[in-house]
């Protein structure tokens, strides 16, 4: 299953998403097989989850079932009961081979509101020119140093100004009746903020915004979008004035000519393409 983590759900951790998915599968009545032993748990196999705070259009999970079900029905029924912000995008019947073996690379889009694209371009050039760029991150086992440059396949500055806040633009949440969602239009959102409220610092003029497109190889520990931003700070002193928003747009294996191979394509080929990916209004599907 490929699914998306959008809107406010981007603030959930992998554990949060895993629990939410398990409960949703139970609500939907999907017969997930259980492990044996003293404390049985559902057989779900997760592949490299997007970090807390990051949105994603390409999260993957393998689900063990006790019966053979129509993948389209699974997609529909699970999507209908997922919490707001989580959406099923694609379900295929798994063929031979592990999904994890078909994923070694992620494509990310990072929006940096308040960062001038030209300035961003110079920082990117500095990063690409450096042979090694080490950043430090706190992990469960204390601080770890990782080389961002080594994991980087490609880093481009996109020039789409209207794409500054991909999280809002591509949110397409399935919850209805939520009149309190922030406006998708950044200009309008900025204008509607009450003037006496002192948060103008927190929301710089949206007209200035840099957007990065990033292809990164999965390493251990994984290089995350935040690490790339840290690397830009290290090499070029780039300081985003507000937190950046990152969205994973694709995962797969990097082909010989630098293209990304859809990890579910193999299963479609072996089992026949009987499912249509579930589509959502306003969804921004990568190629």
């Amino acid at each position: 299953m490929r699914f998306a983590k959008r809107g406010r759900a981007r603030f959930s951790s992998h554990r949060d998403v895993a629990r939410a998915m398990e409960w949703a599968l139970r609500r939907a009545g999907v017969p997930v097989s259980l492990s044996h032993g003293f404390s049985p748990h559902p057989r779900l196999s997760w592949i490299g989850a997007a970090p807390t705070g990051a949105a994603s259009e390409a999260e993957f999970v393998e689900i063990g079932l006790t019966e053979d079900l129509d993948p389209a029905a699974v997609a529909r029924e699970v999507d209908a009961v997922l919490p707001e912000g989580l959406s099923v995008l694609d379900v295929v019947r798994a063929g031979p081979g592990a999904l994890a073996d078909r994923i070694d690379t992620s494509v990310w889009r990072i929006a940096l509101p308040g960062v001038d694209p030209e300035r961003l371009g110079k920082a990117v050039a500095a990063l690409e020119a450096a042979p090694v760029v080490e950043v430090e991150r706190m992990t469960k086992n204390g601080p770890r140093t990782l080389d961002v440059r080594a994991a980087l396949v490609r880093l481009d500055v996109m020039d789409a100004l209207d794409d500054c806040h991909p999280d809002d633009a591509g949110s397409g949440d399935d919850a209805s009746g939520d009149g309190a969602r922030p406006s998708g239009d950044p200009v309008e959102a900025a204008a509607s903020a009450t003037p006496e409220v002192s948060d103008l610092r927190a929301r710089p003029r949206r007209s200035v915004c840099g957007t990065l497109s990033l292809v990164v190889r999965h390493t251990t520990p994984a290089v995350r979008p935040d690490d790339v931003v840290s690397a830009l700070r290290t090499v070029a002193g780039l300081e985003p004035p507000v937190p950046v928003t990152a969205t994973r747009t694709a995962q797969g294996r990097l082909g010989a000519s630098g293209e990304l191979l859809d990890p579910l394509e193999v299963d479609r080929a072996t089992t026949g393409r009987e499912t249509d990916p579930v589509r959502h209004a306003g969804e921004d599907r990568p190629a």
Partner: protein, 680 residues
């Protein structure tokens, strides 16, 4: 420090846009985003009365709270009301909210709390009082009820701690005593009418004071005598009754809430489908405020329980069902309920738990049903008192032989760990009483090794300091000083470890006595204690239920500053025994218990005399039923768990799977499974 309140009238603007940029900078941001499964967001204009329901602790603790979830659903089912939820934000976000002018918000639609008509706060514990002030301040609502105008929400307190709301009387506008299911509707009616008629705040409060179960502190005057005690608490207007009587919801089957339990994205303390199988308890444990103020016992029928479980599991997807009450094994049909549910959900990865069981009500058949789904981790019993004598004082009738017999049976049947709960600092307690806990723990390990035929059995002893509570026979008792409690626990630890061989299989968990002393101050305090609460909050105090935030020194200093000028002090409220004729701060609030009966029960306690349970013996005139017009409601309910023809077939599913839900979308036209199952 304060955040400016938004302007009222019209739909308030969502604060999400301003909150979102702050979230990447705080711990566990998901707790602030809302969007829980089964949450409700109603357009502002569709409701006349807007409720913000608050649990004044962290989201992870507050979200699973049953009371809040029930009222949230009950109110949102009304066409004229909407209810949203708000919880205490952690200091990291609170600081950012102040810096960026973001007010306290609801998690449902991220509306500013100050824009609501009613802010209802549920107090399970008195240690939430400083968080109330923090929430009011972050919301931009004046701390003192006297400073609020028609522009501000009515701040309402409910929950068990509200049975003595005097320490927060200055900060709340109204208090609800007892069960909330019905009274929230009556309050909604009054507020809707008051808004339509354009009534002022004072007129609205006077009208609310006429609703049974509603107490409006500002309509009462408290006078004191020279020795510090209260002379009287007197209504200052005919609109307020001399005594306020608690509310009681009868027939739980008519109130099958929550129907759609909230399922959060964030991790919380209880991730299960909870069903309250009965309310109230007449075991009569003299320390137990919950048991005293929730009488009489009202059971949900086994059919009612079964239907709630079925609906709740389908709506939530939870894999655990909690059968809640104050003493769950006491339900008259508990055996049938447990067996029925275990049969029905066999092989669906659904666990059953009974959070509160008594030693004497426990039996292995029941425990076997509860663990059929797999887990057999630990059993918990609460003898509460270490010695037989002390257990008679507190009316927790369980003999040591009974306990040893029960745990032996449990160890024989495969359990390896038993948890034992005790209290320290109980009335009449001596060092010797507490040291007997060590003897009992050693005995449990010895019996367990014998029964299990192996050495690796474990007993965990968990001890809390006793806090005398209002509306209990111990409301007159002196609370033990923290150093007395700490000293006894030190001796207990030595006694447990005096036998190395047995001691190493005993774990001892306890908390310092200091937080309990402050809980005692807040539990039995009067209006003068409000100054201490405010001083502590102004000094930076909040999240007092969390040891990493609680500061005894801060409370002690604030009490030493604020109370002596009023002729009282910390000890006066805590370690002092009260006389029978002293006016207690909560005497005008009626939990139904006859004051004379409570006093007699206190005297019986001092004489180590026990009291029976009125479910199985004749009425002993505690006063609740005649006073409240209620009656005991227990089984047999005479109804099968499953209504004929209505329920799904009870046959277990063919193979081990992980869902109790049968979705027709998957039953039609499925092909046979390939070997080894399939993955999608």
């Amino acid at each position: 420090m304060s955040v400016e309140a938004p302007i009222r009238g019209g739909a308030p603007e969502s604060v999400w846009d301003r909150l979102e940029p702050l979230l990447p900078r705080v711990r566990k941001p998901v707790q602030y985003v809302g969007g829980e499964r089964n949450a409700t967001v109603t357009p502002w204009e569709d409701a006349q009365v807007h409720w913000a329901l608050c649990y004044p602790d962290a989201y992870e603790v507050g979200l699973p709270n049953q009371g809040l979830m029930i009222l949230y659903e009950v109110l949102n089912e009304r066409p004229d009301a909407l209810a949203e939820r708000t919880y205490a934000v952690w200091p990291d976000l609170a600081a950012l909210m102040r810096e960026h002018g973001v007010p306290q918000f609801t998690v449902d639609a991220h509306r500013p709390v100050a824009a609501f008509d009613v802010l209802g706060v549920s107090f399970a514990t008195e240690l939430g009082y400083t968080n109330l002030l923090e929430i009011l301040d972050l919301a931009g609502i004046p701390l003192h009820a006297a400073d609020r105008t028609a522009e501000h929400p009515l701040v309402l307190a409910g929950g068990h701690a509200a049975f003595n709301p005097e320490p927060i009387a200055d900060f709340v506008d109204l208090v609800v005593l007892g069960d909330g299911e019905e009274v929230v509707g009556e309050i909604t009616d009054v507020v809707a009418a008051a808004k339509a008629e354009g009534l002022g705040r004072r007129e609205t409060l006077e009208r609310l004071a006429g609703v049974p179960g509603v107490y409006v502190p500002s309509l009462y005057e408290v006078t004191y005598v020279d020795d510090g005690a209260i002379t009287e608490v007197r209504p200052t207007t005919p609109a307020a009754p001399a005594r306020v009587h608690k509310r009681t919801t009868s027939d739980l089957d008519d109130w099958p809430y929550p129907k759609q339990p909230l399922v959060p994205m964030a991790e919380t303390v209880h991730e299960r489908m909870s069903v309250e199988i009965f309310r109230g308890c007449t075991r009569g444990c003299r320390f137990c405020q919950a048991g005293m103020i929730t009488r009489p016992v009202r059971e949900r029928s086994k059919r009612g329980v079964s239907e709630m479980v079925e609906q709740g599991l389908a709506a939530s997807g939870y894999s655990e069902v909690g059968l809640l009450s104050l003493s769950s094994a006491d339900h008259s049909e508990i055996g049938e309920i447990a067996k029925g549910l275990a049969d029905r959900y066999e092989g669906t990865g659904t666990g059953l738990s009974l959070p509160s069981t008594r030693v004497d009500a426990f039996n292995v058949d029941l425990a076997e049903e509860l663990t059929r789904s797999g887990r057999r981790s630990g059993l918990t019993f609460a003898p509460e008192g270490g010695s037989e004598r002390l257990r008679r004082v507190i009316n927790k009738m369980v003999s040591e032989e009974e306990l040893i017999r029960t745990v032996s049976t449990a160890y024989e049947h495969g359990w390896r760990q038993v948890k034992l709960y005790f209290m320290c600092g109980l009335p009449t307690e001596t060092d010797e009483d507490v040291l007997q806990i060590a003897t009992m723990a050693h005995e449990v390990v010895r019996a367990g090794r014998k029964a299990a035929g192996r050495g690796d059995v474990r007993a965990t002893v968990s001890i809390g300091a006793f806090v005398p509570k209002p509306h209990t026979p111990f409301q007159w008792a002196a609370q033990a000083a923290p150093d007395v409690v700490d000293g006894r626990l030190r001796k207990l630890r030595e006694a447990i470890n005096s036998d190395r061989s047995l001691g190493r299989n005993v774990g001892l968990r306890y908390h310092d006595g200091q937080p309990s002393l402050i809980e005692g101050l807040l539990s039995r305090g009067d209006r003068r204690v409000g100054r201490v609460v405010e001083a502590v909050w102004r000094d930076g105090g909040h999240f007092d239920g969390w040891s990493e935030y609680f500061s005894f020194e801060r409370w002690e200093a604030a009490a030493a500053r604020e109370l002596p000028p009023l002729g009282v002090d910390l000890a006066w409220f805590t370690t002092r025994e009260r006389d029978g004729d002293e006016v207690l701060p909560w005497d005008h609030l009626d939990s139904g218990l006859d004051r004379g009966w409570l006093w007699d029960d206190w005297q019986d306690a001092l004489d180590s005399r026990e009291q029976d349970d009125c479910r199985w013996t004749p009425c002993f005139d505690c006063g609740v039923c005649p006073q409240m017009g209620t009656e005991i409601q227990i089984g047999p309910s005479g109804e099968d768990m499953v209504a004929a023809g209505r329920m799904l077939p009870l046959t277990p599913v063919e193979s081990r799977t992980s869902t109790p839900v049968r979705n027709p979308a998957f039953s039609a036209g499925t092909s046979s499974a390939p070997t080894g199952g399939s993955r999608t």
